[in-house]
């Protein structure tokens, strides 16, 4: 039996379920698959928490051959994986992470240019797609109507600055790690965040009003392998990696389900209140936004990428799944 050296990289530390399950699900599943015949085995070197690459640098680490396999958070590389980021571009889509992941993976199978994004980075898509639980808003003040947002400063991650434009709120470009401090010091009056990240960070301590807006549960990451390395692997090993990735996806989603309930409990324990935005106000919010998805699609089209096709395919898949998107970003 031959032993294969594999370095697997993730910028986040193992405290996050998507890293923890590399160790607890992906690796054991691959090992178990290989043990069935005993022809091959893998000597794993796990490099997490910025040890080998920082968040967003995983793709480069695997593309250049520094590591063999990456937890590849596409959301931090909107210019390398533009199409994969469609759910960040077109908000108010679906609050079901499994559905968004399924749609993006299906689009990727249908539209060659989407798959080509991985080859362009010298990588192969192993599976293991993952979407974040639906984004909500956490504020220092209660929100019952859109007017409550007038003049309020809202911290938002990268592309999400576009989710509050035109609402009267002022987007402040920021990142997950800075929300707590920024709100405590008054730089922002609130932040766009998801429950499973807001809860452990104690965000409700400073922004106790959680309002369910459901910006959507965007596809955010997947597992990928270095293309040259992958092509040199025996078929049996390739199959084991895909099997491991599939099991990983299931396990991360199962953990996410369990965490969401715990997250709401933690938010309430921190003194937070959870309320839902009414359907009319949510509609008012959506209708106030400029059509950034269309602008984005045009920009991709100009680069020779199927931006409009991906946007239309994404929206149609949502409609086909009975989602009733509140805005037809693709048809306006």
């Amino acid at each position: 039996a031959d032993e294969i050296d594999v370095t697997i990289v993730a910028g986040h530390p193992p405290i996050f379920i998507w890293v923890k399950n590399l160790t607890e699900t992906f690796i054991p599943t691959v090992d178990a698959e290989l043990a069935k015949t005993g022809n091959h085995s893998i000597d794993w070197n796990e490099a997490y928490g910025g040890a080998l690459a920082k968040v967003g640098g995983e793709s480069d680490a695997v593309g250049t051959g520094l590591a063999e396999i990456a937890y590849n958070p596409t959301l931090f590389n909107p210019s390398l994986y533009p199409m994969q980021n469609i759910a960040y571009v077109a908000p108010f889509n679906s609050k079901n992470p499994r559905l968004t992941t399924e749609i993006v993976e299906r689009l990727q199978d249908q539209i060659p240019a989407m798959k080509a994004a991985w080859e362009e980075q010298n990588q192969v898509y192993l599976g293991g797609g993952f979407a974040i639980d639906s984004y909500q808003i956490f504020t220092t003040f209660p929100i019952s109507t859109l007017a409550d947002l007038e003049g309020r400063k809202i911290c938002a991650p990268g592309p999400a600055v576009n989710w509050v434009k035109g609402t009267g709120a002022v987007p402040v470009s920021s990142s997950l790690t800075e929300y707590y401090n920024s709100i405590q010091t008054g730089v922002c009056d609130g932040a766009i965040n998801f429950a499973t990240a807001a809860a452990p960070g104690g965000l409700a301590e400073v922004a106790p009003n959680m309002t369910i807006v459901d910006f959507g549960a965007p596809y955010a990451a997947a597992l990928s392998a270095n293309l040259d390395w992958y092509e040199g692997l025996p078929e049996e090993v390739q199959a084991a990696l895909h099997a491991g990735a599939a099991a990983y996806s299931d396990a991360v989603f199962a953990d996410q389900d369990a965490l969401i309930n715990a997250a709401y409990e933690k938010i309430r324990a921190d003194g937070g209140t959870v309320s839902e935005l009414s359907a009319e106000e949510r509609a008012a919010w959506v209708n106030a936004l400029p059509n950034v998805p269309k602008e984005w699609a045009a920009e991709q089209d100009a680069k020779g990428l199927p931006g409009s096709e991906v946007l239309a395919g994404f929206m149609q898949a949502l409609r086909d799944a009975g989602q009733e998107p509140p805005r037809d970003w693709d048809r306006e």
Binding site: P13, P14, I15, G50, D60, A61, N181, T185
Partner: protein, 439 residues
């Protein structure tokens, strides 16, 4: 031991050898990383790629923006004469005490720590402000740089603190709790430093040099008006930065820019700044920023090479297998951090070690806020230990005095590293020192 592990371990000795032979530290770290990856992967091309990626992304983050800004603030503050004024007043206050100016440096650092989140900013500012003053007053240069390097660590223990923020993100504990938990240990360390200086003044007077504190007592005293005039800019500047942070106008990370502008305005109002000195300050800021940041780039290359070798993981595995128990693991952890602290930068150490040790310790009932404070102090001791001691390097980079070598800074800082170690033991033994204000 696997081949990769042997390379990882061997690289430590190669790097230290290079540094001892006088190779620029950044070059030593980067060259060792290059060789290490080459030997492990049998492919120089991959080595080059690691080097290129680290150059591209290791300092490309918002927090690094504060480095040039805090350096700039420090230089403007110095140019405005604010530092000299503060020390005139400090000298007046402590003039009858042997070692008084050393105590004043520690106190000034503790106050400055409350407006800065990075220790290197403290080291940069007080190298400019305090070292020349102390040497003028007859202090041993080695002691002068030691006090500054030693008390600079207060910058990341007393909130706000970049390291506490990184830790809070890493293990998901409230950053607010961590900040509050850092207050008592920070003040404790400052007090221990002051006591340590007074004790050294009596027990080992030679180490302090021959300060003219007694003679200064006969010098004409400052009137209250003089004191007010000298302290007004300090109060205004600290008030603006403090008020800004706690009054909800800007983040601690923006304080650097606001502070720099404030200090610039003070210098302009005092007419201490002409176009030539203004330009010199900008160029100097560039020198300090470049020499510190290239170190961060190289340290990133090195820790990535180590990660590839699997060395950090092997260490964690060995630890779990050895069944040390709670205090056994804590002691082992602190010792490893201290050893790593001699060769790696604070952030890298935390990123590598905390995820390894937090889970087993949590399982054994540790409070992660307490563990955070323990971690910060242990990691910060590494700022003062050779061969890679960032605080000492920053002092050196800001010191335009060839007579004081890096060796002098490390030796001068040694007593302060020792005092930190004693405080660390106290905080490990008495968790209420860190948890008292929050639990």
């Amino acid at each position: 031991m696997s081949f990769e592990l042997a390379v990882g371990l061997g690289s430590v000795f190669v790097m230290i050898g290079f540094i001892w032979m006088g190779l620029h530290v950044a070059v030593a770290l980067a060259a060792t990383s290059f060789l290490g990856v080459w030997v492990m992967k049998g492919n120089a091309d991959i080595s080059a790629k690691l080097i290129g990626l680290a150059a591209k992304d290791s300092i490309s983050s918002y927090v690094f923006g504060v480095i040039p800004l805090f350096v700039l603030m420090g230089l403007f503050v110095e140019r405005a004469g604010i530092g000299r004024d503060a020390f005139d007043v400090g000298e007046q206050a402590f003039r009858k005490i042997r070692g008084g100016l050393g105590v004043a440096t520690v106190g000034a650092n503790a106050i400055f720590a409350a407006i800065t989140g990075v220790s290197i900013a403290s080291a940069a500012v007080f190298t400019k402000v305090a070292v020349p003053q102390m040497i003028d007053r007859g202090y041993n240069p080695r002691f002068a740089v030691g006090v500054v390097a030693g008390s600079s660590v207060l910058g990341m223990l007393i909130p706000p603190s970049l390291l506490l923020i990184i830790y809070g993100i890493l293990v998901e504990v409230s950053i607010g709790d961590l900040f509050i938990a850092g207050v008592i240990p920070g003040l404790l360390l400052a007090v221990c430093y002051a006591v340590g200086i007074l004790v050294m003044a009596r027990v080992t007077p030679g180490f302090l040099g021959n300060p003219k504190e007694g003679a200064a007592a006969e010098a004409p005293r400052l009137s209250w008006l003089d004191i007010a005039r000298k302290m007004a800019p300090v109060v205004v500047l600290i008030g603006a930065v403090f008020g800004g942070i706690y009054g909800g106008v800007f983040t601690p990370t923006e304080a650097g820019a606001v502070g720099a502008l404030g200090a610039l305005l003070v210098a302009l109002l005092r007419r201490t700044l002409d176009l030539k000195s203004f330009w010199r300050i900008l160029v100097e800021t560039g020198h300090v920023t470049a020499s510190i940041c290239i170190l961060f780039v190289a340290a990133t290359m090195y820790s990535r090479m180590l990660a590839l070798s699997g060395f950090p993981n092997a260490m964690g595995d060995w630890l779990t297998a050895a069944e040390f128990g709670f205090y056994g693991i804590i002691i082992a952890y602190v010792l490893i951090v201290l050893v790593l602290g001699s060769i790696l930068d604070s952030t890298s150490i935390m990123l590598i070690m905390v995820p390894l040790f937090a889970p087993p310790l949590l399982a054994l009932g540790a409070d992660l806020v307490w563990f955070g404070i323990v971690t910060i102090i242990a990691v910060e001791i590494g700022l003062l230990t050779p061969p890679l001691g960032i605080s000492a390097f920053v002092v050196k980079a800001n010191l335009q005095d060839d007579r004081i070598g890096l060796k002098d800074i490390f030796l001068g800082a040694a007593p302060f590293a020792l005092i930190m170690a004693i405080c660390l033991i106290a905080i490990i033994a008495f968790p209420w020192l860190s948890l008292g204000l929050i639990r």
